[in-house]
Symmetry: C2
């Protein structure tokens, strides 16, 4: 049986098997707003059912999980990167004030291993279901010669909705406003090329359990799931007027906090005022990273920053005890760490 397509390195049957394996997990995310099942050319989402009377603003974000996929491959664990991806995208639209409606994923590799794809998309579906967000569609692609043999990529797009009144950041952010931090679980989805290089140069294995990590292996600490701050942000918004949010991703706190601030303003953050997960201490020590480069490449424990008025601090910390008061907005540009 000649099968020219399989000979060219594209296994359509494998893709079909992967789709069957993940179909149930995907369907579990489908509330009444989802009209079409898998297999349609496009996913259909009834906005009137999801948000009756909505005259809202759609907020959309596309992201990937970067080379965290290589750690997942090395550890043989494929579900958590799916959760990482969804949570990353949710945090990005939270910053605009929006809440999630639906998600679409994209998985590509030189060759698709159906079990792996099913685990990846299963993780995407798990995270979507936990948030009440529909996994509306997606695409899997086998691309021999584009991808390295053991690599895979995972990206996705989230669409959410917000009313004009609820949009963030608010225009009244001012010097003297307070910066709260919601702690990160680890690197989230950022800095993995650097982290992998440091681990490799240290001659370490992802299965090593350095004492500094206090239990988990390097691979486990690096695969810690990107935390979703939907609940915390909802709690904070009910308790106080939230003026702005910054999701600390690529470029670290230096690049991301200013995106939430009016032009020309900056912030001062006080060292030691938030917990830094041990994996960061490991990377800074082993990689001999300067503070500036560590905070540029990594979130260093600052998962999401929230900006509130000084008189809202007590109520905010009462509503969300995990939040840390880490600094203040200032009238000059730039983000500075101080003692």
């Amino acid at each position: 049986m000649a099968d020219a397509y399989a000979a060219a390195g594209v296994d359509i049957a494998a893709a079909t098997r992967a789709k069957e394996l993940m179909a149930a997990a995907v369907r579990a995310t489908h509330g009444p707003a989802v009209l079409a099942g898998m297999g349609a050319f496009g996913g259909c989402f009834d906005l009137e059912v999801a948000a009756p009377g909505a005259t809202g603003i759609l907020v959309a974000s596309t992201d990937g999980v970067g080379t965290k996929t290589l750690v997942a491959t090395a550890m043989g664990r494929y579900d958590s990167v799916g959760q990482d991806l969804v949570n990353h995208c949710v945090n990005d639209i939270l910053v605009q004030g929006a809440t999630p409606l639906f998600f679409l994923d994209y998985v590509a590799a030189a060759r698709l291993e159906p079990d792996h794809v099913a685990a990846i998309v299963g993780g995407v579906a798990t995270a979507c279901q936990a948030l009440g967000c529909a996994l509306l569609g997606g695409e899997t692609a086998e691309m021999p010669d584009v991808y390295a043999p053991s690599g895979f990529d995972l990206a996705g797009t989230l669409v959410g909705i917000v009313t004009r009144e609820a949009m963030l950041p608010r225009p009244d952010i001012a010097p003297g406003d307070v910066v709260l931090a919601l702690p990160s679980t680890g690197l989230h989805t950022n800095g993995y090329s650097l982290a992998r290089r440091i681990v490799a140069q240290a001659g370490a294995s992802y299965h090593d359990r350095p004492a500094i990590l206090g239990g988990p292996s390097l691979g486990e600490a690096l695969l810690a799931v990107h935390r979703c701050y939907l609940t915390e942000v909802q709690v904070l918004r009910q308790a106080v007027t939230l003026k702005g949010l910054a999701h600390i991703t690529g470029g670290g706190v230096f690049d991301n906090l200013p995106r939430a601030l009016p032009a020309g303003m900056g912030a001062t953050l006080t060292r030691g005022s938030w917990p830094i997960p041990p994996i960061f201490r490991y990377l800074v020590e082993q990689g001999q990273l300067q503070e500036q480069e560590a905070y540029h490449a990594l979130n260093m424990g600052l998962g999401m920053l929230a900006i509130i008025a000084p008189d809202a601090v007590t109520a905010a910390l009462a509503a969300c005890p995990e939040a840390c008061l880490v600094g203040a907005v200032r009238a000059t540009a730039g983000v500075e760490l101080c003692d």
Copy 2:
């Protein structure tokens, strides 16, 4: 100057340069419905401005352009794959009856070459602008070790809108209905792993100009832009009742036409009733492809199929002279080619 991140193979400055280069092209796609510029965490699209009073259904599709990116790299031409991607996604939501609202792109490679990224995203923006679709956001990712050195991937997500009444396919598709074809320009975004293997096995270069192509080089014929059928579909919908559409992508006419038909129905298509671009004849000859495998892996000239009632044929062909009457719906499953 130590820069740990650059040493790890991630050039943030290069990514920044690429963003500046493409910013103008992206902004040109932004109509009054787009609220936030580039640099925000998520793109904001005011549905009330775009579709006042809309109580519609959002239709979303994620797709990639597959290994067509490798032909683009070989030819040093990066803009057309951006157009391919948008047009592919638009055709996918047309099948649901929807029209495009906004698009987000994802470009990833082992290393981002700013000029190439700018050309790719410029192509995405060109296609979006031609369709009145906002390029709302996107992501670029440098992923050393995930991608092969010369490979890049390009995927994207389109969100469109449709009223419940205008959704396709309609439930009244019946045996005896007519199948029209809107011709393709070439492979569109499907079958490139097979095509590249055939070209390699033939010992041909993408710069060769085989007589069978009638002028263009192999690379030019393979990079022909994925045709967008928005205009033709709008013309057909104004002229007649369009019952269903099938975008012929991965799996060819055999897998895609049935997705537009009620369960159990199939179709018979008459060989020779539509034009087959020369690139398909080249691939079939050089690859010694059987008819079944050619039509499974490639669109073979059938870009988009439309299903209408027999009494609508005259009006449809008058409105859209390029359409070809290629077959009919039948009561038994499967798609068959006949003489």
